[in-house]
Symmetry: C3
Subunit: 474 residues, 3 copies
């Protein structure tokens, strides 16, 4: 009996075609081009090079590499689950994006009953997709592709509603997505894996290991993410100096966390040897940690310090917290997303709040009310006109004080985590439906279940008898 | 006796140096900088940031990744022919590009007896190079590097003449190159492999297989192509909303075809298992299928539907048509280019014609005559002045009706296929010259013939005795 | 006794944290945002899209890929030292960049006691980082991570001072960095490896070999470098036609050197077989060779010829010079940086001088004094006003003649090489301090010393007894 294998032959196509028909219908009914994509809006005053596509597409292209090659390689670190990691990432990503175009579009980009489509929506949809892929990290190797698609089907709307509600009602600053992307994705994923708890995996699993080649592949994924992370963190900031700072801070934060990760890996591993798992994951912590304050005038030194602190928290999480979560709290977090996205996301959010509290006009100049736009004076306030003379195009805000803005950030953190956790638990329960062909414990982390695997000698379990024994015992 | 190996020691350098001397001479005599690259044309009205390089280079850079890393990894899928796939791709690509700069430049970019060189020519040359690389897919592993260089030497001019004649005399819409790139490349390649038919390969070849690592590498190639395909399809559209739509449609088409490919792979393979070959190739079908109408107002839903339809055709081609072509029609299409470029190219062309037929000013606004520029009124037509008031810079066209434009598209399809097929057959005949060191059947798909291969245990044929036996028998 | 392994447990963290505290302090004290990153400088005349980040960031992103994925994969070519090559590259690169931001910033970007930080500094810092990584190539596999960090700690300041002095006092043209990057890096690295001479390595080392997979990985590194090299060579040119030409020349030079490299590899290797080491390295020679004249009006044909000549010199260097340097001159140049950066750098510098000597206003127009800005007339010269009418914004220069400029280039070449060699020797002496845990000869080129290596069958030395014997004997 091979659960999950032959059964997918019908179930996967049925699900996919049903979903595709629905998506196609929704696209046909609701999706139109935005002003920058619609030929009708080209007038004799339109300058082709002013089209928004030229501002957004370079960032989109970088994020594409992160999503498909970065995450794809990063998740391919198991020695026998390289196809699964890389290819299910591809499947889940493409599905999540098309689904997010619709769901996010409905909540955030619809006018006159039509979703206005432009490259900017694709960037937003790839952020929603990043959320699903981060959550995927918690259940990597333990879920069928059908389960993953169902997870994406449910997570995208929960995320889109949360994002919409937080942006519309709480109105927060979160340029790098520390709250909405990293914290949401982390606690959603942890809740799913909590529900899908597999006691036997806590005893160790012979296939839950890497190989030399899979470690190198995973490292390439890290490097793709590292290299383009400044684009990720800055894609949705205001244009100009805000985006410039976001790039600088992300880069500095990553440099600091990378250097720190090497030191901690040597310090905490046996014999001072470096562990590839540390290098693959912990080096990236700085990118998350600078996220919530990435466009603010926090100073380059603060970005550096955030990179170091985030890295230390992330590393200690891997070493000491993850085992406890798995053994005591039934949270088997396969890729350690709680360390790389949860702990760092919390630190980032706290730093963002601090940066909001200390923001002053002496440091930002009048453009402070651009960066913190809810702090801009309300319509009718004489201060608004004064500021608009200095910063043309400044929109009226809510006249929030720093303290008020900070409280809304706190509210956003708690409500995002709560929504994620509840959504994750419910999703986990749905994923337990037997129809979704969850793999048996033995066949976790193994491509053979879902793929035609080449009959070659590269598969270590077949080839090397001695290694095999060790592994099944381990 | 090792045909192709030691003989290359003299023949390859002789060919390369002869060709290089000719190319150098042609460069020295005919190639000059275009207005955006020539220092003399910098006047007191020139703004540095208006230089065309800033419009073209980002797209060029993306296409670079597709050509060298995308195709390079994609073609490295044979377990023992990874060097050949990746490295001959590199060789053929660099040669094709430099040759195309000259040949295409002569036909399309020469003024006053000089080829005007700018980054825009490099983009065009990389498209010509993509044509050669697609054709290369049909004969992968069965040709010596010298044969490949000769193929490029002949294919580039046949392509350049066809492209020039179609653009100059038939004047078609084909932003994504479905006709000129994909159909040409496909039927040229099929014609070559038809002439180079090797009956013994139809019985199966021990080395015509993948390994775990080569499948992963190939998958990375797919992802590079997938990620940057929007840049490929939009690089030569009009700037502004046309380019914006091209990016959106390509992305949506790819998302749809990727999801569909997973469903079909599970449906059509034994036990519902996914085949990496399907994921590596069929997921990309959507990028081709949207090509011919990629810049038009076809609606996002149509792009989605095109992605699905193209994917289905491509998948059925792999499963049912390719074996028939090989067994009955002597067409051994190594990478299945007929499925990924031929069938999808035909669907794309048909969709393009349909989109042309239904194009209306209500949908496009007056800029319809920008997108379909041959439909713009002729010089002297009063309607032209009227339109030019709305769309400044609109060029006079040919006053074609939708129906006329559609007929020219049909003519372009047939003449492109005919030129490709004839050129391919003639090229194939040239490639049979024994001097070109074609590999023997036994040494097909094997790096050992052309490379110093590291003496390591990774080569499965050496290491694993059992596998070895199976393979030499098979 | 395992030198370098357990000892790193304390030494690496101590070094890293000490350095981080210093860097953090320096960032806090001296680093501020430049005008394009500082919110205060946003006025009612600031246009967000005019921010320098949009001119610099696309080039920066390309260079990021080259540094981390290009160099990372290229240096991972040893079969048992893939982690070391890729991961120490990552470590050294991130450390060098943060250190260069400070040191280069102090010399070149400080105003009013503050280093003005923008993306342009990051590009400059990545160039300093490229210098360290090239030098690293000479000692790859023979140095501990601690030694590498110390090398970077010393090389960055020596480089930054040399760069500053050459630019400030000699005022040279060197857009592609042939002198300041390639020659400096090469002779610094050779001097270091000269001091670290290991006689036993000249007898051959069992682990100094590649595997099939490591060769493919390295090839990917080559392709990343190849694809983005035009961005590297053009990142710091003047905007507009100068940058356009830099892109064109680099691309043409690389095409020529790639084709030549294949011919020479077949010609010079046994049986006409291609060597992957040649393809991985020599194909890139053209990118270096065009460097010094990359923005000048040298003509596309000259770029082509430079690519060929550079490639020939580089290939002959690998075949005939490198063994002599190792055997006779105690210079064990692990990656052959003398061929790819030294010989080609010298040719490039010579070509640059020639291009300067023949530069004429007929060819360049008045913008000649932009490209060669030290040749612009001095302040007060009536010719300056005349030229400024034609080229607004032209800065007064030094009124140098072509010959004078050429002499300063020569002076720059010699002083750069001298500074590099002296700095390299001194650095090498420091690296011999036993505290830095240099690996023993036996454990060179072996990841086991510094990494927790997966217990898998991929490691050929364990698995395949026969191969093992051959290797230990060899």
């Amino acid at each position: 009996m091979k659960p999950g294998a032959s059964s997918l032959r019908v179930r996967l196509p049925v699900f996919v075609f049903a979903v595709e028909v629905v998506i196609l219908g929704l696209f046909a009914t609701f999706v139109a081009y935005d002003d920058h994509g619609d030929a009708r809006f080209q007038t004799n005053e339109t300058k082709a090079m002013d089209n928004a596509v030229y501002k957004d597409y370079p960032f989109f292209a970088d994020i594409q590499v992160m999503i498909f090659l970065g995450f794809g390689c990063l998740l391919a670190f198991f020695r026998l689950y390289g196809f699964g990691g890389m290819v299910f990432n591809f499947l889940v990503a493409t599905f999540s994006i098309q689904w997010a175009i619709l769901v996010q579009g409905y909540f955030q980009f619809s006018h006159d009953g039509k979703i206005q489509l432009g490259v900017i929506n694709l960037i937003n949809a790839e952020f929603a997709c990043a959320v699903v892929l981060i959550s995927f990290g918690a259940v990597l190797g333990k879920t069928s592709p059908l389960q993953l698609l169902v997870m994406a089907l449910l997570e995208v709307p929960v995320f889109a509603v949360t994002e919409w509600a937080v942006l519309k009602y709480l109105k927060i600053n979160d340029a790098g997505g520390s709250i909405l992307i990293h914290l949401f994705a982390c606690y959603f994923g942890l809740a799913v894996t909590f529900v899908l708890y597999r006691p036997r995996l806590n005893e160790g699993h012979a296939k839950e290991t890497t190989s030399y080649q899979s470690d190198i592949l995973c490292m390439m994924g890290t490097l793709f993410l590292w290299v383009f992370w400044p684009s990720f963190n800055s894609a949705l900031t205001l244009k100009g100096d805000d985006q410039h700072r976001a790039i600088l801070h992300t880069f500095i934060g990553l440099c600091a966390s990378t250097l720190t990760a090497f030191a901690l890996s040597a310090l905490l591993n046996k014999n001072g040897k470096l562990s590839m798992a540390d290098i693959q994951n912990v080096t990236l912590a700085g990118g998350v940690t600078v996220g919530a304050s990435v466009d603010m005038m926090i100073s380059p030194a603060a970005a550096y310090a955030l990179g170091m602190v985030g890295c230390i928290a992330c590393m200690l999480g891997y070493k000491y917290l993850s085992p406890v979560l798995a053994q005591r709290f039934r949270i088997q977090d396969q890729c350690g997303i709680h360390n790389l996205h949860g702990l760092t996301g919390l630190i980032s959010s706290a730093a963002g709040i601090y940066a909001i509290m200390v923001a002053k006009e002496e440091v930002y100049g009048p453009s402070m009310y651009d960066t913190f736009r809810h702090r801009a004076p309300k319509e009718g306030d004489p201060k608004l006109l004064e500021l608009q003379a200095l910063i043309p195009g400044l929109q009226p805000g809510l006249g929030r004080s720093a303290r008020e803005q900070a409280l809304f950030q706190v509210a956003a953190i708690f409500s995002t985590i709560a929504a994620a956790a509840i959504g994750g638990v419910l999703t986990g329960i749905v994923l337990k439906i037997p129809y979704l062909s969850s793999p048996s414990d033995d066949l976790c982390f193994d491509d053979k279940l879902y793929f035609v695997v080449p009959q070659d000698s590269y598969s270590p379990l077949k080839q090397n008898k001695d290694t095999h024994k060790e592994e099944t015992v381990a």
